[in-house]
């Protein structure tokens, strides 16, 4: 479903996308369109893109085509979701230990929407770290 979402093809475009958005979250998926994990994630992203368009905008970035952020954001997972608001990276406490990003494929649309809403709420209030509505530590996964 990645073809339904806008791609960013250069580091400059990514920067502009993050900078230019004034009052919406910018959600960027770093990864490869051909990657299995990314495909799963993109399925969810494409289906919610229209629903959350009032407060979030989605972009896809190919980390081979645009390697500029790989070291800075430590992008070595198959799929990485990061949240930005007014040129600021918003961290989320997901219970996984990595507060910087979502680095697995989420399969539930509603869960993803909930996370985005929480992040938006926190970011509007000026928080740099928000707590995800659900704990994604392994304790609760099984």
């Amino acid at each position: 479903m990645s073809y339904l979402l806008p791609h960013l093809h250069s580091g400059w475009a990514v920067d502009q996308a993050i900078l230019a958005e004034e009052d919406r979250l910018v959600i960027i998926r770093f990864g490869h369109d051909w990657d299995e994990t990314c495909m799963q994630m993109d399925e969810v992203l494409a289906s919610v893109a229209e629903t959350i368009k009032n407060f979030a905008v989605l972009y896809l970035v190919d980390i081979t085509e645009v390697p500029d952020f790989n070291t800075m954001y430590e992008l070595y997972d198959p799929s990485t979701i990061m949240f930005f608001f007014r040129n600021k990276h918003i961290m989320i406490d997901l219970g996984t230990g990595n507060n910087n990003k979502i680095n697995w494929a989420m399969k539930d649309k509603q869960e993803f929407i909930d996370i985005v809403e929480t992040v938006y709420r926190g970011a509007r209030k000026g928080r740099g770290l928000v707590i995800a509505p659900k704990d994604y530590s392994t304790k609760y996964r099984y």
């Binding site: 229209e50 629903t51 959350i52 368009k53 009032n54 407060f55 929407i113 809403e117 938006y120 709420r121 509007r124």
Partner: protein, 485 residues
């Protein structure tokens, strides 16, 4: 009169004695009919009558012959329609068309009468046929074809009837109770069939003529339904003004035939559609929408007929616009419904909260506030592992609950936040036991204000001596069994 008496005699010969009284009635009716000078429309009750000529007289009338002559002349002349501004009613062509309409109605009646005649004759041979083939002309054709043949497999009805009906007819014929007719009666029936077919072709000719002049008489109506159907509608309704006065729901049924369904349901059989089903618009509509299309057509054609009846628009422009309207509407029905768009969620917290506070809100909050117990369960002491429902950190954690160090199991209730009135009533209820003097009652009072504390006496004793703190795994414990020597 000679023919009459002859036929009576013939009747007497043919009929069995139990039908003698019927014959008497016939006799009376026939005499009445003879007295009927006009004789244009034969009385329906007189139809049992045996002689065809006395029953159907239309073909012999002056009017029939005149009109047919004129029609044939006009058809031979071709259409030299003049569009001069003469008043329509004065135009001889228009008069002829009006006459034609009246005549075609008469012919239709005549056909029904002849049909009755044939049925009466042929009933003896094949009683079931009239319920299988309703349409008079079809019936006449079939009768003519079958004649006195008893084995229907030898008769080829192909082209006269639909194949399903042919099958039903031949199956029924194999079990019929009918007997072959005597030659004379058969000859009469076949003559009547010929008569019916002649009348039908005459009617067709009249309708052809009316149809060819339709563009002049009713330009709007023929623009909507086509000139052939317009002519048929006008003919059946009995003229343009009659059609204009008719409500649309009746126009829809003009020319509707009774159909043999052979036991099938009426759901899909286009049951209540008349001539309008022959229109091009109706035929090009998918079957599921045909009924709607038909209603629409009927409505618009009535409007068009009304326009035509007062010569409102001789160019037929209004009719063409009706037609376009109908086509557009039918096309619109066939469009799929618009795709459902996903509705975007509103941005969270985008609109201000409606509840701002006040006494009532404060009360509700108080009522649903966290209890002390829940508060304790939610809190964690620093450096102390919590207890949990399943032990070892599994299950639901208890937080600081039961960890206060005092061995407390119950949290003492704080000052009640219930409203004064409720609290007072609650107190009155519960202090009942304190004043009692019976030996079975306790002096202990459970008050909602103070609560009661139950303590485990052993908890204190164990606190230092034994229990978890002094086991092998405890941090302060030592190898208790082994003493240093």
């Amino acid at each position: 009169m000679a023919t009459l008496t002859d036929s009576f005699l013939a009747d007497l010969e043919e009929l069995s004695d139990n039908e003698a009284d019927v014959l008497d009635e016939d006799n009376g009716d026939a005499e009445q009919m003879e007295e009927d000078v006009d004789g244009d429309l034969a009385d329906i009750e007189a139809l049992n009558y045996d002689d065809l000529d006395s029953v159907s007289k239309l073909q012999k009338t002056q009017r029939y012959n005149d009109i047919m002559q004129k029609v044939e002349d006009a058809l031979g002349r071709g259409s030299d329609i003049s569009y001069q501004g003469i008043v329509l009613e004065d135009d001889p062509e228009y008069q002829l068309i009006v006459d034609c309409n009246a005549l075609s109605v008469d012919i239709e009646n005549e056909i029904v009468i002849t049909h009755n005649f044939i049925r009466d004759k042929y009933r003896l041979k094949f009683p079931e046929l009239e319920s299988l083939v309703h349409h008079p002309i079809d019936y006449a054709r079939v009768v003519k074809k079958i004649g006195n043949e008893m084995d229907l497999t030898l008769v080829d009805l192909e082209g006269l009837l639909p194949s399903a009906i042919i099958m039903v007819v031949s199956v029924t014929a194999s079990t019929t109770s009918g007997k072959p007719l005597p030659d004379e009666a058969l000859q009469k029936a076949i003559d009547a069939c010929d008569r019916a077919l002649t009348l039908d072709s005459a009617k067709k000719k009249v309708l052809d003529f009316v149809e060819s002049r339709m563009g002049y008489i009713a330009p709007n109506l023929s623009a909507v339904v086509g000139s052939a159907v317009a002519a048929k509608l006008m003919g059946t309704a009995g003229g343009l003004s009659a059609l204009a006065k008719m409500p649309a729901c009746n126009v829809q049924l003009l020319g509707a035939k009774r159909k043999t369904l052979a036991g099938f349901s009426t759901a899909n059989s286009q049951f209540r559609v008349g001539y309008l089903e022959q229109t091009e618009i109706f035929q090009s509509t998918p079957p599921s929408l045909r009924m709607r299309a038909c209603r629409l057509l009927a409505g618009k054609s009535t409007l068009a007929a009304r326009i035509d009846s007062i010569r409102g628009d001789p160019t037929g422009k209004e009719g063409r616009s009706f037609r376009d309207e109908i086509l557009k509407k039918i096309e619109k029905w066939q469009e799929p419904p618009p795709a459902k768009q996903p509705k975007p969620l509103p941005a969270p917290d985008s609109e201000p909260k409606k509840k701002r506070g006040g006494r009532r809100l404060r009360k509700t909050k108080e009522r649903y506030a966290l209890t002390d117990m829940r508060k304790l369960a939610n809190r964690m002491a620093f450096g102390v592992p919590e207890e949990s429902s399943l032990g070892d950190g599994l299950g639901e954690g208890y937080g600081m609950l039961g960890q206060a160090g005092s061995g407390k199991l119950r949290v003492s209730a704080g000052p009640s936040k219930l409203s004064g009135k409720v609290a007072k009533r609650f107190k009155e209820k519960n202090y009942g036991s304190s004043g009692a003097t019976s030996g079975l009652t306790s002096s202990l009072a459970f008050t909602p204000v103070q609560g009661i504390e139950l303590s485990n006496p052993q908890a204190f004793a164990n606190q230092l001596g034994s229990g978890t703190q002094s086991t092998y795994f405890s941090e302060t414990g030592t190898f208790s069994k082994i003493k240093r020597t």
